[in-house]
């Protein structure tokens, strides 16, 4: 009956549309990954920025002092000692500063580490500009080796009035396996 072939055709068209919705939503699930990164880079809301800035020459605001705190932690499988050599520092917005972090490989092997920054409150990460940071690169330490790693930064002079204290925390991950393209971590 022609009625039935008509229903058949209608069904197939509808199924095709619905299946494409399913496919698109699966891709959308994956698209959330880059979207999330872009969104976070623009808004700074997850406090995790790797953007490298050029040093600031003007815009020093000596009327304000921002209290900046540094904390560190290491991932459970990371055999390093890692600590900030300056725990807190007071800086004027626009002022270029350098602080040091100390890392020691206490294992008998060469280990490669990657530090991941996180700023709290998250939104403040937009105003904490890293000119040079050990987190831009992986660090390789031989057994027992100790290094001082530098962070050069400045705080933008347009930092909102209500942000007076910032915490910058680094977590150090063991990426030795990934670095040699061998096994997953």
């Amino acid at each position: 009956m022609s009625d039935k072939t008509l229903v058949h055709k209608k069904n197939n068209q509808l199924i095709a549309k619905l299946v494409s919705v399913v496919m698109l939503m699966f891709l959308f699930g994956y698209a959330l990954v880059p979207l999330y990164d872009v969104f976070c880079d623009i808004t700074g809301i997850n406090g995790r920025r790797f953007v490298q800035s050029t040093p600031q020459i003007s815009g020093l605001n000596e009327s304000r002092l921002i209290n900046l705190q540094f904390t560190t932690s290491v991932a459970p499988d990371m055999p390093w000692k890692f600590s900030p050599m300056t725990k807190t520092i007071e800086v004027h917005p626009g002022e270029n500063k350098v602080v040091k972090f100390s890392a020691t490989n206490i294992s008998p092997n060469t280990v490669v580490g990657q530090a991941i920054p996180s700023v709290s409150p998250g939104i403040a990460s937009l105003y904490l500009n890293k000119v040079e940071c050990f987190c831009f690169n992986r660090q390789e330490l031989k057994a027992g080796e100790q290094v001082e790693m530098g962070l050069s930064f400045f705080i933008s002079s347009d930092i909102p009035e209500d942000i007076n204290t910032l915490t910058l925390s680094y977590t150090l991950f063991n990426v030795t396996a990934v670095n040699q393209n061998k096994q997953p971590i």
Binding site: H8, N11, L18, V22, F28, G29, L32, R48, P121, V178
Partner: protein, 535 residues
């Protein structure tokens, strides 16, 4: 059951829309090969009942362990597997298949269609489910144990710290998801293309409407879940870093993707309930449903809003204030269409000639208890309060009120409501009332004290607790055992009803409306070969 069927369409073409075979195959092959929507509905409902007891047994293990403080019966890792698999089985194995089963049985009958639009696909969507749950349950017996990271499988619990069997969990979830998507596509095609002539969208029964919207939620939300589990799989086994900070990913991203699926998912588990309740309340109040079109719009708005509230599960992840406010307001906004529904049900009962048969008892209990769950949901939706309630037993109390006294009670109500139509016999009203009252009392002993435990600070998913929580936990566990045992009564009632009893009439509930009540009880194997007339 249907040997009495007068089959008028023996000469009709045998194709996807007309099953002219008037004889059912016998034995197991009937069930394995069936493309009949009624058989498949029965399979779904039976499977969901089985899973309800498997997941329930796991809940009993949890409550037995929590009966006293200290470690009593199981080790913490096994306890975690129990909470995880209990959640997965109840969500994907009990509640969702029960709704799909009801849809299979009732949607074609309610819209006057001869069967589902895609009967062979229908067979497949059911039969891959037992495979999925076999894989999931088998993973409990693998070295290192089954999934132990909670049903929400947050990274890195499900990647860095997950057991070796996680791949099985991923594949099981994939198969469950495929089953749900196929089922949803089938329901959408059936509703859009097979309605009886003259049945416009705004004349569809409420149950059909709520399932129509639920099916769209399924095809939009489940693929995102599939993406999330695939990322977990590659993160754990193939060195990707979607959720690993060391490789440039972010564990918080997992929560965003998961809850983008997860919040629509919780409405997938409640919208069909709204449809069932909107069917039962008018039938036993002997009045038309109050505010039909507002019910339709309310359901659609809940579905749309469900995609912009996901981060209310993540208030404590350190979101900026603006985002917390946005997600708080959008969450609280959902109370408006939900309130419309609750008030419409109450208005339907207002000045109705109400009688209190078991389906109505469950439906009224649903309205009251689901609303309690809704209110605790509002409390959780308020950001500053959530910082206190987050990850405590208050959350457990909340979602069990909406899922057990909400979704499960509505399924029970629907089962009692349509059992006479399915089996041709009336169920044992006395036993069914006993089942209702025992369930009602025990479920409140089980879940109500959890509110206080949560407010007092008892964390969820922990096998041990501080001494001051001991009394309430004992009470909760006793309620749990009582609720578990009471559900065996349901099985007794159903089995008795399938075997025999008082003959059911065409329309055993005098206030009921719809095509399904114009058919004989039990419903013939083939129905509506020629579509009915819409009045």
């Amino acid at each position: 059951m249907s040997t009495l069927v007068k089959n008028n369409n023996k000469k009709a073409d045998i194709d996807d829309f007309d099953h002219a075979h008037d004889e059912k195959p016998r034995g197991i092959m009937r069930w394995l090969l069936t493309t009949n929507h009624k058989d498949i509905g029965t399979l779904y409902l039976g499977f969901s009942l089985l899973m309800f007891f498997v997941g329930g047994a796991m809940a009993m293990v949890i409550r037995a362990e929590l009966f006293q403080p200290g470690m009593q019966i199981v080790d913490p890792n096994f306890f975690n597997q129990m909470t995880t698999v209990h959640g997965l089985i109840m969500v994907f194995g009990a509640v969702m298949p029960a709704f799909v089963g009801l849809a299979n049985w009732m949607v074609p009958l309610m819209i006057g269609a001869p069967d589902m639009a895609l009967p062979r696909l229908n067979n497949w969507s059911f039969w891959i489910l037992p495979a999925a749950f076999s894989v999931l349950i088998a993973s409990l017996f693998m070295p290192g144990g089954g999934p132990n990271f909670g049903w929400t499988f947050y990274a890195p619990l499900s990647t860095t710290y997950a057991p070796d069997s996680t791949a099985l969990f991923v594949f099981a979830v994939h198969i469950m998801g495929i089953s749900s998507i196929l089922g949803a596509i089938n329901i959408i095609v059936t509703i859009m293309n097979l309605r009886a002539p003259g049945m416009s969208y705004m004349k569809m029964p409420m149950f059909v409407w709520t399932w129509f919207i639920t099916a769209f939620l399924l095809i939009v939300a489940i693929p995102v879940l599939a993406a999330a589990v695939t990322m977990i799989l590659t993160d754990k086994y193939f060195a990707t870093s979607f959720f690993s900070a060391a490789g440039g990913g972010d564990p918080v991203l997992f929560q965003h993707i998961f809850w983008f699926f997860g919040h629509p998912e919780v409405y997938i588990m409640i919208l069909p309930s709204f449809g069932i309740i909107s069917t039962i309340i008018p039938a036993f109040s002997r009045k038309k449903l109050f505010g039909y079109s507002s019910m339709v719009y309310a359901t659609a708005s809940i579905a749309l809003l469900s995609f912009v509230v996901w981060a209310h599960h993540m208030f404590t992840t350190g979101m900026p204030l603006a985002a917390e406010l946005f997600f708080m307001y959008s969450t609280i906004l959902i109370a408006v269409p939900t309130g419309v529904k609750v008030f419409n049900w109450v208005a339907t009962m207002w000045r109705g000639a109400i009688s209190f048969e078991v389906p109505m008892l469950f439906a009224i209990a649903f309205i009251i208890l689901f609303t309690i769950g809704g209110f605790s949901g509002l409390m959780l939706g308020i950001t500053p309060l959530d910082f206190q309630y987050h990850d405590t037993y208050f959350v457990v109390a909340h979602f069990h009120y909406v899922l057990v006294t909400g979704a499960i009670f509505s399924i029970m109500a629907g089962a009692y409501f349509w059992l006479p139509k399915w089996t041709g016999y009336m169920y044992d009203e006395r036993l069914a009332k006993l089942h209702f009252w025992l369930s009602l009392i025990s479920v409140n002993i089980l879940f109500f004290p959890m509110h206080f435990l949560g407010l007092a600070g008892m964390p969820r998913r922990i096998p041990d607790y501080a001494l001051q929580f001991a009394d309430f936990n004992q009470l909760v566990s006793l309620g749990g055992f009582a609720f578990g045992i009471s559900q065996l009564l349901f099985v007794v009632v159903v089995v008795k009803c399938v075997r025999g009893g008082a003959k059911a009439q065409e329309k055993p509930w005098d206030g009921a409306e719809g095509f399904e009540w114009e058919l004989p009880s039990p419903v013939p194997y083939h129905t509506f070969s020629t579509p009915p007339k819409v009045k």
